[in-house]
Symmetry: D2
Amino acid sequence: MAIKTGKQYIDSLRDGRRLHIDGKVVSDVTAYKPLQGIIGTIASLHDDQHDPAYRDVLTYVDHAVALRALGKTEAAARAQGMVEHCRENDLQVTHALIDPQSDRSTLDAPSQAVQVVERRADGVVVSGCRMLSTLAPVANECYVGPYYPRQPGEEKFVLAFVVPMNAPGLSILARESFHRGEDTFDRPLSSRFDEGDAILMFDRVVVPHDRMIIDGDLAAYNGMLAARPGYTPLQATIRSTMKLRFLAGVATAIARANGRDKLPRFQAAIGELIALVSVAEGIRAGAIAEGMRRAEAFARGEFKIEGDGISEPKAIGVCGGAAINFFFPYANTKAADVLRLAAGSGVLAMTGADYANPEVGPLMDKWLIGPGIDARRRLELMKLAWDMTGSEFGSRAGLYERLYSGDPEINAQRWFRSPITGECEQLVHELLKP
Amino acid sequence: MAIKTGKQYIDSLRDGRRLHIDGKVVSDVTAYKPLQGIIGTIASLHDDQHDPAYRDVLTYVDHAVALRALGKTEAAARAQGMVEHCRENDLQVTHALIDPQSDRSTLDAPSQAVQVVERRADGVVVSGCRMLSTLAPVANECYVGPYYPRQPGEEKFVLAFVVPMNAPGLSILARESFHRGEDTFDRPLSSRFDEGDAILMFDRVVVPHDRMIIDGDLAAYNGMLAARPGYTPLQATIRSTMKLRFLAGVATAIARANGRDKLPRFQAAIGELIALVSVAEGIRAGAIAEGMRRAEAFARGEFKIEGDGISEPKAIGVCGGAAINFFFPYANTKAADVLRLAAGSGVLAMTGADYANPEVGPLMDKWLIGPGIDARRRLELMKLAWDMTGSEFGSRAGLYERLYSGDPEINAQRWFRSPITGECEQLVHELLKP
Amino acid sequence: MAIKTGKQYIDSLRDGRRLHIDGKVVSDVTAYKPLQGIIGTIASLHDDQHDPAYRDVLTYVDHAVALRALGKTEAAARAQGMVEHCRENDLQVTHALIDPQSDRSTLDAPSQAVQVVERRADGVVVSGCRMLSTLAPVANECYVGPYYPRQPGEEKFVLAFVVPMNAPGLSILARESFHRGEDTFDRPLSSRFDEGDAILMFDRVVVPHDRMIIDGDLAAYNGMLAARPGYTPLQATIRSTMKLRFLAGVATAIARANGRDKLPRFQAAIGELIALVSVAEGIRAGAIAEGMRRAEAFARGEFKIEGDGISEPKAIGVCGGAAINFFFPYANTKAADVLRLAAGSGVLAMTGADYANPEVGPLMDKWLIGPGIDARRRLELMKLAWDMTGSEFGSRAGLYERLYSGDPEINAQRWFRSPITGECEQLVHELLKP
Amino acid sequence: MAIKTGKQYIDSLRDGRRLHIDGKVVSDVTAYKPLQGIIGTIASLHDDQHDPAYRDVLTYVDHAVALRALGKTEAAARAQGMVEHCRENDLQVTHALIDPQSDRSTLDAPSQAVQVVERRADGVVVSGCRMLSTLAPVANECYVGPYYPRQPGEEKFVLAFVVPMNAPGLSILARESFHRGEDTFDRPLSSRFDEGDAILMFDRVVVPHDRMIIDGDLAAYNGMLAARPGYTPLQATIRSTMKLRFLAGVATAIARANGRDKLPRFQAAIGELIALVSVAEGIRAGAIAEGMRRAEAFARGEFKIEGDGISEPKAIGVCGGAAINFFFPYANTKAADVLRLAAGSGVLAMTGADYANPEVGPLMDKWLIGPGIDARRRLELMKLAWDMTGSEFGSRAGLYERLYSGDPEINAQRWFRSPITGECEQLVHELLKP
C-alpha cells in the first residue's frame, strides 16, 4: 500500500473511537481544538513523506524479514502479520505496557490489569486497564505487550496483542490537554507537540486471533523482553540526543538574550551540555554498530552477541538501553536545569498579546530588551524557555525523559542481574589469585 | 486604625490601577476571574484576623520602635513613616528589588533600571523598570529598594521608595495567570494561591518626598543590605519549613495511595525529608534566638552581634539567611523530586469531570484504585501532586524556592566576603603554628 | 576524685590490655610509636584541664542527677553508677554499638554478636564480637550498648554494659595505624589525631553485675534508643561544625596559595561552605534550646517534648540528630570536595625533607611558589590538604563523617516512622477537606 | 629494533637520572624499594610482549605514516622522528603538559613555566618547571608539549620537545611513594601499580634541535590541541571503562561478602554501575568508529570530519574526549562511592599479619566471616576495597579520574566555544521561524 498523506491520516482518525478528555466525550478527535496542534504536526510529517525533498530520508522500501525474536513459529507469524499490517497501512501505533498503579509495592500483576475474561470462536475477550499510552488520542492502533516479566500463575495476564483504537469496549481515558488554546508565540511547543497520554480501559474487548500475538505463553512473553536487537533504544537515543541539542540550544539562546553567555559559569554550564551532546552522539554511533551486529546474529539464528568484535568474548549490554535508563535522564535533567538557571525569573513573562498592546509594546521595546536583541524576540525566547521547562508540556517532557524506560530503581536491579556483573566480579578474583 | 476585613481588602483593590495581564487591560482586578482565587484567599486571611479563634495568633498590638538600620535620621524617619502607614492601614505590600535582565553579565545598573528623571517640588519623578514583583496584581503598595549594592556613579539609581499600586504612570505588567478556571478538585493550589508576579514599569511616576526613603545616598542604600536583624529570613525559614512539611506530606499521601509506602526505598526517601523537616525546625529555633539577640543589640545601638553567647567572640552570619540561600533550595528541590518519583506517571491524569461522567466513573472505581483508597480520592491526590510539581503553578513554586533569595552564585560570592571566611582560615594558621 | 594530668592518663594506659595492631601484639600502648601522636594529643588535653587559662572552660563541678531514661529503677541505678565511675575517675571511654558485618541483609542479631554464654555468681560471661570501637587502643573503658533495636527472641544479645579495656578475655583488634612515622610537617593531622578504630572480641569476658546495665530487658534496651535528650547529637553537631569551619579554612588557604581565591567560581564554592557554617551554627543554637527543653521535661518526668514553645503542639524530632544524619554528611562531603578541587593535583607533592635538601629547596623557592606565598608554606598547606582529603587519615575522616550515625538508608527509614510523617500527611487531608 | 624484555626495561632505568623522592636522592631507581612494585609490573608487561600467548595482542608491525597534524613540514618531520625513536626503542614515555600552580587565576604562562633561556649551536637551553608527570620515576623519555593554548607574546613558552629522563639539569621531584612496604595482601594495588607523579625541574637543560618539535611557532603549538584524531581519548576511554568494570566488580564482591547483595538498594546501586559499563562500551565503539573516520580524513589531508556518515553534515566533537571530560569522572566517582557504601566501616580493618597471629586468626575465623565467605578472604576483599578508595593510592586514583583531562570548568568553557553550540542554537531559530 502507499504511504499516507496528511489528509488521509486525519481522515483515519474519524473512526468512532471513544475518547474521554478534559471532562468531555470527544467523538471526532480531529474537530477537538486542543488536539489540532498535534494532529497538524503529525499530518505534516505524513505530507513530508510525499515531498521530494524529504521522501528519500523519511521512507524506505521494505525487504521483509521474519521476526524471530519470539522463538515460537506461530507467535512470530502473528507478530509479523501485525508489523506488516501497520507498515503497509502507514498506521500510527501507540503502546500500553504497564499495569495500573494499583499497588506499586510489588511487581505482581494486579487484579486491575488487562486479562482474559472469555475465549470465544471469534477471539479472546479481555478486560482491565493498561497505562500509559502516549499518543493514544491520535493513534490508529494500540500494541499491548510485556514490559516487566510475569510470573507462573499469572497466565491470564500474559498477553501481547494489537487492537485498533476504535475497538468496541475500549475507552481511551486521556489526561488533560496541555494545550489550551494559547497561540504559537506563547506556547511554541505545547501548541504543536502535545501528543497526549491515556489510560486504556478494556471493557470486554474482543481481540481476534490473528491480532493476539501471545496468549498465556510465559516463555515467549518474558523472552520478548530479552531478545531484542535494540532498535527501540536506538530510536530513543536519537530522540533524546536531539532533545539534548535543543535544550542546549535554548539555554544558549536565552543566555545570549540576557548577557549570561559572557559569564564563565554559564559558558561552563552550557559547555558541559555540548560535551554531553558529543557523548550522546558517541553512544548513538556505538548503538548503531551494536544493533547491526545483533541483527546479523539474529539472521544467523543467534539471540545474543559477545564481545566488541575486537578483544575477547564478553557479555554485551544494549548500550542504547543503558543510556536511555541512566545517561539521558541524567543529561537531559541537567540540561533543563541549566536552562532554568540561565533564564532565571525571566520566564515568568507576559504574553505576545501584551506586547501587541500599543500601550505596553513601546514600554517593552524601551525597557525589556537584552544585548543585541529586541523586546519581541526576547519575549519569544522566554516563552519558549517556559514551554520547555515550566508549562505543563515542559513538566511532562521532563518527567517523560526520566520515566521513559520505567522505574529507574527496578531497571537498575535488572542490570544487576546481567552477566556483566559476574564478569566484573571475576576481575577481582583474578587480581587476588595467588 | 483597625485591621481590615476581607471585604475592605477587596474594596481597596478597586483603585484604578493599570494592570496588564493575559493580553488584557484589567481595570477592576476583583472582577477578573483568574485572580479571584488569590483575592479570596487573602480576603479570608483578613477575615481570620477578626475571628476570635485566630485573632490573638494573627494580630498584635504594636509598641512602636524606631528603625535605626538606616543610620541616617531623616531616612529612618521616612522609613518609619512608611512602616506605620502600611501597618496602620493594614496594607498588602509587594516589592520590586531587581533590575530588569538587560545584561546579566554585570551587576551594574542598566540604563533600563528605575532612575530619577526629574526633581520637582511635589516629589521625585522616576522612570524605568523593576522586577519581579510578586503579589503585585493584588497588593496595595509597592516597595522599591536595594537588593544588590550600587556603585559610586550610579546615584540616580540609588533609590528606595514606596508607591501605591495605582500611582499615575505605573504599569503593572503581570505574567500570565496560572489559574485558568480549572476547579478546585483539579487544581487545589493554582485555584487558590496563584499570587501573581509582575514587572513594574514606571513612566514618569512622581514619588512624593515623604515616600522617598533614600535618594542618592549610596551609604544608606548599601547599608540597608548589611544592617538587618534577620526578620525576613526568619519568615522565609518558617514559610519554607511549612512548605517542606507539605511536600513531605503529599509524597507520603501519594505513596500510600499507590503502595510505595511499603517499599524501603520510598520509606527512606520520605524519611530523609522528615529528617530535613527537623533540621529546618532546628534552624528556625536558632534563627529566633539569633534574631532576638540582634534586636537587643540594635536596641543598644549596635549593628552586629558576636559569638553564640557561650564561647569566644566570633562572626555570626544570619543563619536563616544562609538557610534560605542554600539549605531550603536543596531540601525543597529534593522534596519535590521525591514527590515526583513517588507519583511517577500517575500525575498525568484525567479530570474530576471525567470521573463524574457516568460512563467513566464506574470504570475508574473498578480499575483505578489503590491500597485502601478509592478512585476519587486517588485522583484528587494525583491532581494535587501535579499541581505541586507539574502545573505552571508548581513549576513556578519550584523556581521560587530556588531563586527566592536571588542568584545562588552571587549570594555564595557574597558569603565568601564574610568575616567568617577569615576566621576559618585562621584555624589553619593556628594548626600550622610551629 | 580529681581531674587527671596528662601523665596520669598515660600511666593509666599501661594496664596490660591485649592490643593487636599492625600485625603486632602491643602490651604497652604508650611505647608503641604510631600511637604516641594521639596519646600525646589526649594527654595535653588533660593537662589543659589544669591550666588556669582553660580550666573553667574544660571542667565543671557536677551536680549529680539521676539518669531516668531507662525507666527501670535498677538499670538506671547501675547506669548512674557507671557514669559516676567514669566521671569521677576522669576516664576515656570508647563504645562498641554495632554487630559485626556478618550479614547486612538483615538487622537481626547475627550469631557472631556479643551474647551471654554463662551466668555466674560474679557476673555474666559474654562472648562474641562488636564494632566499631573508635579510640579503643587508647581508651580506659568500653561501653557496649544498643544502636539498632533488638527483636523478641534475641534476649541473649540484649546487653548494655561497661568493661575496662584490660578485661581478661577482651582482645582489641585494631585497624592499621594511619600514622607511620611521617613528621608533623608532612602529616599535620595523622601525626596527632589518629585515634584508632577497633573490633572488640569478647572471649568469655566476665561482666560484673554492677557493670551490667541491661541484661535481656528488651523494653529498656530499645527504650534507650528513643528516650534521649540529644546530648550526643549536640556534641556531634558542634564537632561537625568545627570540622566544616576547618575544611572551609583549608580550602580558603589553599585557594589563596594558588590564586584561585580570585576566581568567581572558587569564591562561590567556598562562599557556599561559609553559608553552610552559618546554617550549622543555627542548628547548634536550635539543638541547645531544644536540649534544654528536653532536659527540663525529663526533670518533670516526661520523656518527650511537643511543639516549639510558640505555636501549637506538634512532634519534635531531635534536630541535632537529623543534622548529623543528613545535613553534616552533605555539608562536610561537599566541603572536602571543594577543597579537593581548589588544590587540584597540587596535593600530589614531595615531602618536607625534599625541601630541606639543598639541591631541591632553592629550585622550589624559585619555581614552586604562589601569589604572596613562599615554597615552604605552600608545600605545608598542600600536605595539610592531602592529610585532610587524601591520606588514609583523611579518607577515614570522610567516611567517619558519613557513617558516624550509622547507615543513612536505615536512619532514613527510621525517620519515616516518626510521628512527624503523619503530621505532614495530615496537612494534605486538611487542604483537601471539602 | 626489537621489543624489550622486562630485564632490558629494568636495565634501561639505570641511566643516572636525578630522582628526588621521599626525602631521598635515588640514583638507581631499580634498587629503591617502594618503586619495585611498579617496575616489576611494567617489566612483566614487557615480558608478556614476548609470550606467545599475548604477543599478537600486545605488539604490531608498524606501517609508518607521517604525522600531518602539525601542518608544518619541519615540525612534523621532527615529531615523526621522535615517534619513531620511542617506538623503535620500545621506550616508556611520560609527559608534562601543565604549568606549575603559580597563579591559577589566569591561564597565562607564569614566569615559573619552562621557557627558552638560551639558543646554542647544539640545541635550545630551557629552564623552569612543568607538572604533573605521571610515571616519571620509571619512564625513559619525557614529552613536554601543549595542553592549554598560549597567547601571542608568550613565544618563549611555546615549546614542544622530548628529552630523556637523565638529561643533565633535569631534576625529577617526585611525590611521596604510596607504597611503603605493605605486602600484597594488605595493599593489592599500591604494591603493584603506584606509578608515581613528579614535577619536572629543568635547570638549563639542553634540548638538541632534532628533539625540539615546536619552538615559538604559536600556530603549530595551539594547532596541536585542535587537530587530533582522538587516539588519546580512545585509550583513556578504554582504561576508564576497565576501571569502571573493576570498581563495579569490587563493589559486587564486597556486597556478597557482607550480604548486601541481597538488599534491593545495593542491587540497584551496583546495577546502575553495570548499566554505565554498557554506556561506556557504547562510547568506546563510537570512539573507534569516529577515530577511524578521522584517520581516513587525515589521510585525505583534511583536519576534521563532518556528520555521522548517515544524516546531514554537522560538527562532530571528539566523543571519547567528551566522555573523558564529563562522563567518566561522573561514572567512576559514583562507582567509588557505591563501593564505599557497600563496604561501610568494614574497610577499617586489621592486616594479614594480624590474621596470621595464632591468637587472632581463630577468633576471626569464628566471628569475622560473611555469608559463604571465610575470614581470610573477607579481610582480603576489605583490604582491596580500602586500597581502591581509602589508601593514598586509592585517593590519588579518584583524583586522577577527575582531573585526568584537566580542570573540568575550563574544559567546559572550551566546549562552549565548539561549533556544536551554534548548531544547537540554530535549532531554536528554526523552530521560531515564522
